[in-house]
């Protein structure tokens, strides 16, 4: 399945070199489709992986500008994947963004994981705004310390998240 996703998207890699290169890692096919649609509309090159192992396989030959990582995934969790990616010399400048549905439930120190930003998963219209804001911030080279709060937490009311 991950290889099918890779080959389906390989054509995009032939695009303009100025395009932002993005990898999205999430175990939910709907989230991968949503992120691909959103980012391809913004003329980004997008590869997707449905788990951490597939993501690491892709990263052997692909160095993205930005990686969006789901926090809760089977096999390799998002926090472990962040640390692993950050420890790879060729990935030291990659911009890591955690996508988290549990941000409203427990404290996540995403900077400690080596991530640059964390977006709370919520309604897709809100998520779109936050994902595109993060890309704009990257373009404007806004320092990371401006982005230490979890983005979009206000869109996920505490009553909506229970554990």
């Amino acid at each position: 399945m991950p290889l099918q996703v890779l080959s389906r998207n390989m054509g995009i890699l032939k695009g303009n070199d100025d395009m932002k290169k993005i990898l999205v890692v999430d175990n939910h096919p709907m989230m991968l489709k949503f992120m691909s649609n959103l980012l391809e509309k913004k003329r980004c090159q997008v590869l997707t992986a449905s788990d951490g192992l597939s993501a690491l396989e892709i990263l052997k030959t692909y160095t993205p500008d930005v990686i969006f990582i789901d926090f809760v995934m089977p096999n390799i969790s998002g926090d472990k994947l962040c640390r692993t990616i950050r420890s790879m010399p060729q990935m030291k400048n990659v911009y890591l963004v955690i996508l988290s549905a549990i941000a409203a439930e427990k404290t996540v120190d995403f900077t400690e994981l080596g991530a640059n930003a964390c977006i709370a998963k919520g309604p897709f219209n809100k998520m779109s705004e936050h994902v595109l804001d993060v890309l704009d911030r990257l373009d404007q080279k806004v320092p990371n310390d401006v982005a230490k709060k979890i983005i979009g937490l206000e869109d996920v009311h505490p009553r909506e998240i229970t554990k």
């Binding site: 175990n27 939910h28 096919p29 709907m30 989230m31 489709k33 949503f34 649609n37 809760v72 549905a101 549990i102 998963k121 919520g122 309604p123 897709f124 219209n125 998520m127 779109s128 996920v156 909506e160 229970t162 554990k163």
Partner: protein
């Protein structure tokens, strides 16, 4: 279920929304089967994690009725009420199958 209104609420084209709904249903039916198995095997954490994923996807799409039911499943799983977890999961699977008929 008014998909046009739901897509408008999320500022999305209806076609794109329907594409995402189809993935939500397909993944949801498969995940709820796994959730049922996990609950029957007394694996509360796995059942709760699957319910959590379903709940997040429902919130993404603005499907608040599904969101609330998944929240209930997640809570019962964490509380170890696994028989109740299976009952509610089966009811949710029926609801999901019902909207699958509208989508296909």
């Amino acid at each position: 279920m008014n998909f046009k209104e739901l897509s408008e609420n999320l500022s999305m084209e209806e076609d794109e929304y329907m594409e995402l709904i189809e993935l939500f249903i397909e993944t949801g039916i498969s995940d709820l089967k796994k959730l049922q198995t996990a609950a029957e095997e007394a694996n509360a954490k796995k059942a709760a994690d699957i319910a959590h994923s379903f709940k997040g996807a429902a919130l993404n799409l603005g499907l608040m009725e599904f969101f609330e039911i998944a929240k209930q499943i997640e809570r019962t799983a964490w509380n170890g009420q696994l028989e109740r977890t299976v009952q509610v999961a089966l009811a949710l699977k029926e609801k999901l199958s019902a909207i699958a008929g509208f989508v296909s």
